[in-house]
Symmetry: C2
Subunit: 307 residues, 2 copies
C-alpha cells in the first residue's frame, strides 16, 4: 500500500498534554497556546476538557478557554466529555467535536473507573445520542490499545471489540491509543490490519506515546497501513503517569519533520509549531522534549548569533 | 522483503558517544563501561580511537582502554584509525577491526579535512592494505549520507560513490551514517536501495542520529530494506556538534526495545544495557537521553519502592 499523500495531525497538547501539569496553567496562557496552534494551521485541536474539576483541576477553565480562543475557519476544536454534564458544557462552549473514551484492557477499566469495558462504553450512549442530535462530531478513543500498565498484554481482539462498540455509538473517528507507549511497529500494523476490517481506515487515527522512543517508528508503520490521522503534542507536552520522569505524547515537531521528509502534506507550518513549543515550555517552566524542536531552536539561535 | 530475523547491534557509546564529552572520562570508567557492554552480549563494540590526542584529547587513553578491558570471546572490538600511525596503535592494542571514514558531502570533506572526498579516501589505502596484511577487519563509515551541515542536500549518487571507493579498498563492512540526524524514512530506503546494488546488503549498516527524533523510524525503514546491522550508543551518549543541546546517536536501549518488540534476535540483554546506561550517565554526570532506558529505570524504581 502506498503511503498516504496527506495526513491530518490532531494537536492534543492543550488538553492531553497540559492536563497532567501540577501547577495550574493560567487561562490566558492556554488561550495563547491554542491561538498559536490555530495560526500554525492545525485542522484539529483538542482544546479543553469538560471533566469535573475535582478530578482534573488543571482543566477547570475549559469554558473560559473555549470562549477566549480565536477559531480558525474550518478547524475542528475538540473537547473531552466524560458524561452528559460534560456534554452540556461542550455544547455551551460551541465545541465542534466531543471525545469519549474506553480502554481495551479490562484491568485498566476496572482499576480506573471500577466497571467493565462494556459498561464504560454503554454509559456514553446518551452523550453520543445528544451529540448526534446537536450535530457535533464524535471521536472515540481506545486507550491501552497496545499494552496496559496493569495486565500487560492487550489482545488485538479486545481492541477490535472496543472499536466496534464505538462504531455502534456512531463515532465519526476512532483513535487507537498507545497510552503507555509500549507498542512497537509490527504490533501497530497487526492492530490496524484488524481494526480496518471493522471501521473505515480513513476515519481511524494513531495516538502514540514516546515513552519507549517508539512513537515515530509506530507512526511510520501506521502510514504503511494507510492510516492518515495522527495525534501529537507540541513540545511533547504531557508525561506518563505510569512511569514518572518518562516521556508521554509524541512531540508534534518530530511528527511534522517526518511528514515533511516523506513529502506528506499536513497543512501545518513546522516553524510556527517550533515557536509555539518554545513559548509553552518557557511559560510553564518545563523542558521541551521535542527532538526536532530542540534541534531547530538550536539552529535558529546559532544562525542569530552568527548574523 | 520480510524483516531480518536477527540483527547485529554495534555499540558505539565508548568511542563515538564519549569522544565529545568535554571533561576527561577516567580510563577506569571507560573500561568499566566496555566491560558492562561486553557482559550484556554485544557482538561488536567500538571501544577506542587511535587519533592524535591533540585532535581528540578525550580519546588519548585508547591503548590503556584496550589493554584494560575484558574481551568476550567472539566479540569484535573496533577502533578508529585516521592514519598509519593510528593503525600501528590499533595493531599493538590487538583491535579486531579498524574504522576508516569519509564524507558523502564535498563541502563537509573540504571544511573538515581540507581535501576532496576522493583524496580523503585514497589516503586510507595504506591503512587498509596494512589491515589486510595483518588480518584485521576493515569498516568504512560514510558520514553525511543523508544530509550535510554545510551543503544541506547530499545526493544518493555521492553516497554510492563513497561506498564504491570503500569497497575498492577492501572494506568488510560499510556504514551509512546520518551524522546530523536529518534523514527521514523514505530517503533511508532510497539510499539503501541504491547502495545495495554496489555492495552486499548483509555487510551494510545503518548509523543513525536522533537529532530530529527520526532514528527509530529510519531503522525500521532500513529493516524493511533488509539491513541487519545497526549502530547505537548506550544512554544516547554523544551529542550533535552542529546543534548544541540536541540529541546525537540513537540510544541503544530504544533500538533493543524495538528489536525485542519486532521479535528480531540481537543476543543483547536489554536490562543489562539499561543498567550500563544508568552507570555511565551517573559516572559522567550527564542526562540519560534514552527514552526506553528512562522508562525502564522509572519502572524498576517504582517496583523497588512498592516492594
Amino acid at each position: 500500500m502506498p503511503l498516504p499523500t496527506a495526513v491530518k495531525i490532531v494537536e492534543v497538547g492543550p488538553r492531553d498534554g497540559l492536563q497532567n501539569e501540577k501547577e495550574f496553567v493560567p487561562t490566558a496562557t492556554k488561550i495563547e497556546l491554542v491561538n498559536r496552534l490555530s495560526a500554525a494551521g492545525f485542522p484539529n485541536i483538542e482544546a479543553a476538557s469538560f471533566v469535573s474539576p475535582r478530578w482534573v483541576p488543571q482543566m477547570a477553565d475549559g469554558a473560559d478557554v473555549m470562549a477566549g480562543i480565536e477559531r480558525r475557519a474550518g478547524a475542528i476544536y475538540s473537547v473531552l466529555t466524560p458524561n452528559l454534564r460534560g456534554f452540556e458544557g461542550a455544547l455551551a462552549a460551541r465545541a465542534d467535536e466531543i471525545v469519549i473514551f474506553g480502554a481495551a484492557s479490562e484491568a485498566f477499566s476496572q482499576k480506573n473507573i471500577n466497571c467493565s469495558i462494556a459498561e464504560s462504553i454503554e454509559r456514553f450512549a446518551p452523550v453520543a445520542q445528544a451529540a448526534k442530535e446537536h450535530g457535533l462530531r464524535i471521536r472515540g478513543s481506545v486507550s491501552c490499545s497496545l499494552g496496559c500498565p496493569y495486565q500487560g498484554e492487550v489482545s488485538v481482539g479486545s481492541v477490535v471489540d472496543v472499536v466496534e462498540r464505538f462504531a455502534a455509538l456512531g463515532c465519526d473517528e476512532i483513535d487507537i491509543a498507545d497510552t503507555i507507549g509500549v507498542g512497537t511497529a509490527r504490533r501497530v500494523r497487526d492492530v490496524f490490519e484488524a481494526v480496518t476490517k471493522v471501521f473505515p481506515r480513513e476515519r481511524l487515527s494513531g495516538h502514540f506515546h514516546d515513552t519507549y522512543g517508539q512513537a515515530l517508528a509506530n507512526i511510520y508503520a501506521a502510514l504503511e497501513e494507510g492510516i492518515a490521522i495522527f495525534h501529537a503534542s507540541v513540545a511533547g507536552l504531557g508525561g506518563c503517569p505510569y512511569a514518572k520522569g518518562a516521556t508521554g505524547n509524541v512531540a508534534t515537531e518530530d511528527v511534522l519533520y517526518l511528514m515533511n521528509g516523506l513529502g506528506i502534506h499536513t497543512g501545518v507550518d513546522l516553524n510556527q509549531v517550533v515557536a509555539a513549543g518554545d513559548f509553552i515550555s518557557n511559560a510553564i517552566g518545563r523542558q521541551n522534549v521535542s527532538r526536532a524542536g530542540k534541534a531547530l531552536l538550536a539552529k535558529t539561535r546559532a544562525e542569530a548569533a552568527c548574523a
